[in-house]
């Protein structure tokens, strides 16, 4: 089993010529604009190649408009590349819009049948799979009622169950998680683990780095339609570090990039800042401070991989700053000095 992309290049035609100012300089978002004769194109993908084998789970990361969704659509056979080609050992299932094809007036069962037909299954195969899907949705008698009587979460359950039940061994998915209640989220993750244990190839694009880290063994960082970095899960860390400093002022950005851990920087800055640049998973981390009088105070409820916090006037020597999850040992600590 394999899925490979061979020098994929894809241009989107633009209806009107790009303004000269828009095309000048390097825009951080979207693909590069270029003209050819009288027409203008966006180069959505530029010479993207990779090769995946059985069991590979590839994470796609990058800014908005960096080409993640476009690449997934090329892999799924929706967009036809201008140059290069995709080859795979079997049919590729794309999951982009789980409620696609749902009929509000039809019953849950009827919608499941249509979803199955959409995936190219025969009527007999669908009938055989229905009891298990019905069980998975947990919707019971609602499956005989029209879809418009469902709540959004219930419709989501139906969509996810149908989509995964009728998927093939090679899957490409775009921002697929995030809806449903907590119980259903766990079901989704368990179902995903089934995919991973089974002999499958999965390509996922998401902005949730923690989700991707749990899932992927390979990663590609796309920038303006080009592969900026390709490798193992460490590429996700690098991408996350890069985006969390983008929001900082340039002098802070340089200092944050230069070190690892939690420290205070003064040189070249208007005011002293507490800076951090953390390794590994940063999900659920907080910035807190131990003071002798008040005990533990949370300064920032959520921190990104890299960040900066201007030292408040009340900071005194001996205060201990920590980055940690609630009720856990700190992953980084700094004790304020006399200066």
């Amino acid at each position: 089993m394999h899925l490979s992309a061979d020098h994929i290049t894809l241009d989107f035609p633009l209806a009107q010529a790009a303004h000269s100012r828009a095309s000048a300089g390097a825009a951080p978002l979207g693909g590069r604009l270029h003209g050819q004769g009288r027409s203008t194109f966006v180069r959505a993908l530029d010479d993207v190649s990779f090769h995946l084998e059985i069991g590979d789970r590839l994470a796609l990361v990058g800014h908005n408009g960096s080409g993640k969704s476009t690449l997934l659509r090329v892999l799924a056979g929706i967009y036809h590349p201008d140059r290069g080609h995709v080859s795979s050992s079997s049919h590729v299932s794309g999951i982009f819009n789980m409620s696609l094809g749902f009929r509000q007036e039809a019953t849950g069962y009827r919608n499941l049948v249509i979803k199955g037909l959409m995936a190219g299954r025969s009527r007999a195969e669908i009938e055989a799979a229905l009891p298990e899907i019905a069980e998975f949705t947990g919707l019971g008698p609602y499956l005989d009622m029209p879809l418009h009587t469902y709540s959004q979460g219930m419709a989501m359950r139906l969509a996810f169950a149908a989509t995964t039940a009728f998927s093939n061994d090679i899957l490409v998915m775009d921002e697929w998680i995030g809806a449903g209640d907590a119980g259903f989220q766990e079901k989704i993750i368990a179902r995903m683990n089934d995919f991973l244990h089974a002999s499958t190839i999965v390509v996922v694009a998401s902005h949730s780095a923690s989700l991707l880290r749990r899932l992927a063994n390979k990663a590609i960082w796309l920038e303006q339609g080009q592969v900026r970095r390709m490798g193992g899960p460490e590429v996700i860390d690098e991408y996350e570090a890069a985006i969390s400093v983008v929001e900082l002022a340039p002098p802070l950005r340089a200092q944050v990039d230069a070190r690892r851990g939690l420290w205070v920087a003064r040189e070249g800055l208007d005011a002293p800042h507490l800076l951090w640049n953390l390794p590994g998973n940063v999900e659920g981390l907080q910035l807190r401070v131990h003071t002798s009088g008040q005990g533990l105070t949370v300064v920032r409820a959520a921190v990104a991989r890299c960040g900066a916090w201007p030292l408040a006037p009340w900071v005194q020597a001996g205060m201990r700053f920590e980055i940690a999850r609630p009720n856990e040992e700190p992953v980084a600590a700094y004790v304020a000095d006399a200066a």
């Binding site: 989107f12 035609p13 659509r73 799924a76 056979g77 929706i78 967009y79 036809h80 590729v92 794309g94 982009f96 819009n97 696609l100 094809g101 009929r103 007036e105 039809a106 009827r110 049948v113 249509i114 037909l117 959409m118 190219g120 025969s122 009527r123």
Partner: protein, 262 residues
Amino acid sequence: MRTSAPLLRDWSRSFALHGLWVNLALEDLRDRYRRTVLGLSWIVVSFALFVGVKMFVFGPLNAASVSEFGVFVTLGFGLWTYINAMVTDACTAYMHSRAWILGTATPYPVYLLQVIARNWMIFAMILLVMAASLYWNPQPLTMKALWAIPALVVYLLSSVWICAILAPLCARWRDLYQTVQTGLRLVFFATPILWMPRNFNRLALIAELNPFSHFIAIVRDPLMYGRVPVDSWMLVLAINAAGLVVGAVVYATTRRRLPHWV
């Protein structure tokens, strides 16, 4: 030659997915009439009412007997209802399936066949009314009436290439859809449906030049008058031959760009 392989692959895969497009067409119809008391019989009721009013208004303008004109209008308007709906729906076939085209790799002809299947389901009900109207026809049915069957097969074939041409072009140039809609409204009056050519000399010439009259004649003439209009058949077959070629070329050249247009 490079472009003909994907064309054949798309269409053969789409025909194999007949369970999908037949069910999609059924759901389209059910959505339209769901929660109505009359349900699908609305198609028959509204068509019969329309024909009745047209007979009442336009009947006195024609020299023919009431029963002859009644059958003439029922057959002509029944066929026109199909042609009009089919051509209009052909324009929007891809636009209405935008979410599908951007969400799945389903071959595009599925959406065209869905539109054709839906229109034939409606047409089947109208055909029942048309068949019933033959009871009042002044001339008895002859064996030549069977010529209406191959004529209907030609309607089916024409629908395929009309969809293959109009669906992608209308998705690319949205003005084309409006043009086609407006054009159809004008052509309706230039086609002998509400008037009989033998009553008006000037109009008879228009009818002769209008290809739609010939499409209607190949079904209506054998049923009403027991004659096979050979000239009309020749013209319709020639149009179909050209249409199939143009349809194949348009499909093959637009399929790669279609997701960017819808």
